[in-house]
Each structure stands twice: as structure tokens, then as C-alpha cells.
Symmetry: C2
């Protein structure tokens, strides 16, 4: 399955579910949540945790990382969508991440 870049996490898992012709009921059972919760997740009204993402990835044959990418990028995008300075925020954030990581590396060993 080819992931569309601007597809939200919710849209993505809904499309996967529809592709497999599964009712919410079935997928919700795998995640161990109510159908209502999953319905909201597909509408981005509830957010997945790591466990949800792992189970969904397994179920739909996706890479865990790409599902996590979809979720994390959604979160950042919605946090910044109304900010006129979003572009700069992303660039500065990228630099800060590099800086944080460089600080946490002591003689090649990661420390957190």
C-alpha cells in the first residue's frame, strides 16, 4: 500500500481497514477498545498510543515507523497550521534537535 503524504493518520487507517473490508468491530477488538473509540481515531478525535500503532501496523502489514510518522507529522502539523511562522519553527526545531542530540552523546554513547 502506497501512503499518501497529506493523508492524516485517521484517514490512513480507515483506508487500510476498508481495503480489507473489516468492520470497526473487528479492528477495535484487536486494539482492545470500543468501536466508538476507533471511529473517533479514524476521525482524528482520539489519538493512538504506541501499542495501538504497533497492532495496527501488524494488522495492516505496514511498517511501524511509517504509521508513527503519519501520527507524529499530524500532531506537528496541527500544532503549527495556524502559526504564520510555522516554516521557521520547523527549521529552528530541526537545529534544536541536532543540538539536543549532540549534547546527549558522550564518547559515542547515547545518554538520556
Amino acid at each position: 500500500m502506497q501512503i499518501i503524504q497529506h493523508e492524516t493518520f485517521g484517514e490512513l487507517i480507515r483506508h487500510c481497514r476498508e481495503e480489507k473490508n473489516l468492520p470497526l468491530r473487528k479492528v477495535a477488538a484487536v486494539l482492545d477498545v470500543d468501536t466508538s473509540t476507533l471511529s473517533k481515531m479514524e476521525k482524528n478525535l482520539r489519538h493512538p498510543n504506541r501499542e495501538h500503532i504497533e497492532k495496527l501496523a501488524e494488522l495492516f502489514g505496514l511498517n511501524t515507523e511509517e504509521l508513527r510518522l503519519a501520527f507524529l507529522s499530524d500532531r506537528v502539523a496541527y500544532q503549527l497550521a495556524q502559526e504564520p511562522i510555522s516554516e521557521q519553527v520547523l527549521r529552528v526545531a530541526e537545529e534544536k534537535i541536532k543540538y539536543i542530540r549532540s549534547k546527549n552523546i558522550v564518547q559515542g554513547v547515547l545518554e538520556f
Copy 2:
């Protein structure tokens, strides 16, 4: 004052305060919070709201946007610092923001 890119929001406002030789007490009064709250803000243990940012910008003669940039980029950076895929997250988020904005523009009018 020249803003250092990898300086956190907390570090930034502390440096500004020290430059003006103001005790926490004075700045906290402007923000209408306890010195303890401001101390934590300078250590990034509490976060500023829009009002705090505006008052701090005015007090230190900074642009509101650059202060907000410092705060928002911190938030994104700390959310993604432990994610191996942070770079991709930033790129996809950028695309999603463009997409969200394009959806919200109807005949040149912003709709939210």
C-alpha cells in the same frame, strides 16, 4: 539582542532578564505569577501562554514572533528529539501544513 538558535525559551528569557539586572520578583510581577513559576519557566518546567509571551516581549524589547518562535520550536524539538524519524516527521509535517492551508482557502479567503 541576538537570539541564539539553539537557546531554549527558558534560557532566552533568563539571559534577557540577567542583561537587565532584574530579579525574578520584578519580572514575575509583570507576568502576574509567583517567582517560583517564573523560575520554573526559565528552566522549561512551566510553559508560557500567549499573554506571558507578549508581556515578556514588551519588557525585553523583543519581537513577539521571535519569542513565540523560540517557544514553539522548543516544543516541537522536545517532542521529536527521541524519534529516530524526526527529520521525516518535519518534512511531512511541512507538507501537511501546506495542504491544510490550501484546503482552508476558498477564493482567497481564509476559513477556520
